[in-house]
């Protein structure tokens, strides 16, 4: 194995690009698990569902996958709000979220995956767009547009979410519900409604993340499993409820994964995020930017 500077820089750049995408994938988890304390392990399932819906829309209507995803977000928002309502009534209200709530989300993840397998089969599906294919070259650094475009839109998404959370009433209420539900109730805000909205937003981001995923790589139903360890590792590393933390952690994981697959081979990359997760949990459970 020859260590080369070109390769190193190239790996770091592609790690940063893919890291921004990981941040978009994790944003939903940061909202649901980090802020609301709802351990939504089905999130990767919703992302794959998003990928397939975007695939159908862009195949049949011939529109850009990202625009298709934006069109789908309202439907995903409603789906998320409905799921939270079921979750609240069946588990949170009864105080059973720790075990049966987890099993509930695991069941949803499983049902999503198996249904997609039954309907679409296990063939890889991909979308077409103008930016899939060409690559920009800057000296020895290659930037494929199929990764650059999702990266930029991901950054926009994170920025928009951060603005909503810090500048709007609803956003501040979402941050508040994580800290003190009772105080929120005293301000005449219904915490359940706020949580429902937040969970809806969290699932809505899955539609966009799904579009990014299918732009970056061909998708088949079980791809989501690879992302489970990764998204939770990033969420914990980023300090649970913090979006800037999520972005930093996502880029870190992206870079390390990219270096690993460049210098040791891509088949080792999935182990990286788990290593990160265990290391974080063992050494610094509060995360990088934890409060």
């Amino acid at each position: 194995m020859i260590f080369s500077f070109d390769l190193l820089v190239d790996a770091i750049v592609s790690g940063i690009l893919i890291g921004a995408f990981y941040a978009a994938v994790t944003a939903g988890i940061t909202l649901s698990f980090g802020i609301l304390d709802v351990v939504n392990i089905a999130h990767p399932g919703f992302i794959i569902l998003g990928s397939y819906i975007v695939y159908i829309i862009s195949l049949n209507l011939g529109i850009d996958p990202i625009i298709a995803a934006i069109l789908v977000t309202p439907a995903f928002y409603v789906l998320g709000a409905a799921i939270y309502q079921v979750y609240y009534v069946s588990f949170e209200k009864r105080g059973q979220e720790s075990m049966r709530g987890l099993a509930f989300f695991f069941g949803i993840l499983f049902i999503t995956e198996v249904s997609l397998v039954l309907y679409f089969g296990v063939d890889y599906r991909y979308v077409e767009a103008r930016y899939i294919g060409p690559t920009w070259h800057f000296g020895f650094v290659d930037i494929p547009l199929r990764i650059l475009v999702p990266c930029l839109v991901s950054l926009l998404l994170i920025a928009a979410l951060q603005l909503v959370l810090t500048r709007t009433f609803i956003g501040r209420a979402i941050m508040a519900v994580a800290q003190d539900e009772l105080a929120l109730r005293l301000m005449a805000v219904d915490p359940i409604r706020i949580k429902r909205i937040a969970f809806g937003i969290s699932i809505a981001t899955a539609a966009l993340a799904g579009a990014f995923l299918i732009i970056i790589q061909p998708v088949e139903p079980s791809v989501g499993r690879e992302y489970i360890g990764r998204v939770f590792a990033i969420c914990v590393l980023g300090g649970m409820g913090s979006l800037p933390g999520t972005l930093v952690a996502a880029m870190l994981v992206g870079i390390v994964e990219s270096l690993t697959s460049t210098f040791y081979g891509p088949s080792w990359a999935p182990a990286v995020s788990f290593g990160f997760l265990l290391l974080t949990l063992a050494v610094r459970p509060a995360g990088l930017l934890g409060r």
């Binding site: 698990f33 075990m99 987890l102 099993a103 198996v114 489970i228 360890g229």
Partner: protein
């Protein structure tokens, strides 16, 4: 019932099950029964941690596969009798269970669940990259056609899995009625209060993860001989993870009976559905049953039965209560 009597009774029942399968005169029943029994072990093992302590393990497939792959590794070194494989597979999985628990159990329960979920992915990565056990190509295990007292080899495997099932149920029942079990129950009900009252919660949780992981590994150890050709995607199949959660939750998690009922019902249902419909559809059925049960009947089939018993005419129940609560007559 005392444990030794319980063990004798269950061994007798086991012998009857074996005899029944033998009289049906078709090896298929042994093949199907093996899978159901394997799920009995997995569900019981999951329940020791999940049902008694309240910690959810999503990585059953990882522990199962660890057992299976330790057999493959041993087989490559030198083929061993299966009971040796079972013991070593159990030791390997138990150690991994202990390690995972040690790293994650000091935090909230959700972290343990997530870590186990990721554990499956990472172990699969390791196995895919480990050429000694076949890597992503998979490994062949040549099983002998026949073995001395049993006749065909599948009968031998069936008998081993039957003993494992009886063993794991006995262990679960023992735990349930011991000091250990009461300790587990305090963790499940209120970990903070338990900790405050001096229950060594971390040590108990580590005991639970180790026993649970070891039993899952034992269930996986004979699997390469059963399947003949082991590849990572079949050993780490998501259906092991989902079934070992769904079965206890559907049966009922508070006692050893629940996982047994769940595994036998759901396992047989899946065997029937695999033959009559398709294997993908039966997984979908399991998923919907799991979600449906946790929403509608949180205490599983046992909970439903208990509810039914409690709704019987009040007079009967009342009388029994009085009888049970009456102080012992002084001599």
């Amino acid at each position: 019932m005392r444990t030794d009597i319980f063990l004798i009774v269950s061994l007798l029942i086991g012998a009857c099950v074996y005899g029944l399968a033998a009289t049906l005169g078709n090896d298929y029943y042994f093949f199907a029964g093996y899978v159901v029994l394997q799920y009995v072990v997995l569900a019981t093992a999951w329940n020791i941690l999940g049902g008694y302590c309240g910690y959810v393990n999503f990585g059953s497939a990882a522990f199962f596969a660890l057992g299976a792959y330790s057999t493959v590794a041993l087989y490559r070194f030198h083929p061993m009798p299966i009971p040796v494989d079972v013991v070593l597979g159990g030791v390997a999985s138990g150690i991994v269970g202990l390690g995972t628990g040690y790293l994650t159990l000091r935090m909230r329960g959700a972290f343990f669940a997530i870590a186990t979920l990721a554990l499956a992915v990472v172990l699969e990565t390791l196995v895919v990259n480990w050429d000694y056990v076949g890597g992503s190509r998979g490994a062949y295990i040549v099983r002998p056609e026949t073995i001395a007292p049993f006749g065909s080899y599948i009968k031998y495997l069936f008998a081993i899995m039957l003993l494992l099932a009886i063993g794991s149920i006995t262990v679960a029942r023992l735990i349930e009625r011991s000091r250990l079990g009461y300790g587990f129950a305090t963790i499940r009900d209120d970990e903070l209060a338990a900790e405050a009252s001096g229950v060594p919660t971390l040590r108990l949780k580590l005991v639970a993860t180790t026993i649970s992981g070891a039993l899952m590994g034992m269930a996986g150890a004979p699997f390469p001989y059963y399947i003949g050709y082991l590849q990572p995607s079949s050993a780490f199949g998501l259906d092991y993870a989902v079934n070992s959660i769904a079965m206890p939750l559907i049966g009922g998690t508070t006692s050893w009976v629940g996982p047994l009922i769940g595994a036998v019902l759901l396992g047989s249902l899946q065997q029937i559905a695999t033959v009559t419909i398709s294997s993908a559809v039966n997984l979908l059925i399991v998923g919907f049953l799991l979600v449906g049960f946790v929403i509608v009947a949180p205490n599983g089939i046992i909970g439903l039965v208990q509810k039914y018993v409690q709704h019987r005419p009040l007079r009967q129940v009342g009388r029994r209560h009085i009888k049970a609560d009456a102080p012992e007559a002084t001599p």
